[in-house]
Amino acid sequence: MTRDLFDPLDLELRRMLRDLHDGPPAPREARARLRGALQLGGPFPPDGSGPEGAPIGNLAARSAAQTAAGARLAKTATHVSRAWAVSGMGAAALIGGWFALGPQGSDASDRSIEQPPALQENASERRTAAPPVIGPPETVGSSVAGRGDAPVEAPETSPPSSSVPETTPSSASSAKSEKRGAESSLAAERRLLDAARAALVAGDSETGLDRLGRHARQFPRGVLAEERAALTVDALVAAGRYDEAKRRADAFSTRYPGSIFAPSVAAALQVIP
């Protein structure tokens, strides 16, 4: 063991630390809620012979798990302000978006939630850090479908897809999550957009676009659709898809005249060479 070669702790100190190895187990209620959030169903049989859990690598299962997880995580809503600090837009923007938009948009998404890493860089750093990958001309839809997902947003003129429910029916185990209602949806939207922004901050425009696509599928009429549209322009620029970014920016201006996100969209376009 290498630790003995390196500033070994006093034996008594080591014992004291080792005594912390075990602690109280996770409360039963928490375990049950986590099972529900992870779509694992009931308790595992004591003999270990019970049904297999969610198949690994099964995208549908993962998505379902994340769906419930998103609702579960929504109670904390810890990220509402983080992304705004990154983009330089104040909390007033969120409030403004909330009241000004209401249900609108024709975009599509899913509720997969991923915890974004901390956001510590500003928007300009994000843009300069983005890899200048210039892909072949693609349609708006195919741009995000590159990872097997639906388009970030449906064409502006198309109606919302009726085949994609705005809220995915959850199993009984996640019924509690569903009770959270509209506030949870907003928090879930916020988390997803935060996750997208975090990916963009990290220079991972592909993941950012993927998460924006998820948001679009999950919240086609989300209250944060306007912000998503603005972020999408950012993401496309970061991905080097300048033509698409310009088209999206034009559509954004038409659809959201006077938007508080307009400066952000304009700033995104300014970095296009």
């Binding site: 602690g23 690994i56 915890q115």
Partner: protein
């Protein structure tokens, strides 16, 4: 629990996510607690850990112990938790574990006092350094394991351990602990 631990022959298989969850929730729970996540947020952060584990389980090398691998996720989640502005200047969790029911009240009181002191000293250690201390000196993982699973350079891990131990010992001293023979 896991197939690779019970099977006497044959290649180890990756456990199902459900198996991992059922077997490791308590470990994750306490690991996060030791890494400084307050009780009120343990559930959310544990969920985050398992979401990541679920997503990455296909990459897990079943021939190796799973706990150091999972501890890496817990470490990253704890780090990200600490970086959130609202938690950055917050003191880490100080909740004292409930004593085991099998010990006498006197011993329980003594143990509880010592445990409280150790936890208090632990929380005074820088969070990044403490993570290495927790994974190494509490959970017993080797520094190379810690470095590999937490994606930190080996020398950095050693350095953090050294500094964390010094901070921990100093903090204990300030709290009045004396190592009497």
């Amino acid at each position: 629990m896991y197939p690779e631990r019970t099977a006497s022959a044959g290649p180890a298989r990756t456990p199902s996510f459900r198996e991992v969850f059922e077997a490791e929730l308590d470990f994750v729970w306490n690991c996060l607690r030791r890494l400084g996540i307050p009780e009120r947020d343990l559930e959310d952060e544990a969920l985050e850990v398992f979401l990541r584990v679920q997503g990455a389980l296909g990459e897990y090398d079943a021939t190796r112990s799973i706990r150091p691998w999972i501890a890496g996720f817990a470490y990253r989640v704890a780090c990200e938790y600490r970086r959130r502005p609202r938690h950055r200047y917050e003191r880490m969790g100080t909740e004292i574990d409930a004593p085991a029911s099998s010990v006498s009240p006197e011993q329980s009181a003594a143990d509880g006092e010592e445990r409280a002191m150790v936890l208090a000293a632990l929380e005074r250690v820088d969070s990044l350094r403490r993570s290495v201390l927790v994974l190494h000196d509490i959970y017993g993982y080797t520094i190379p394991e810690v470095a590999a699973n937490c994606d930190i350079p080996l020398n950095t891990a050693y350095s953090r351990l050294r500094l964390a131990r010094a901070e921990f010992a100093q903090a204990l001293g300030r709290l009045g602990w004396r190592n009497e023979p």
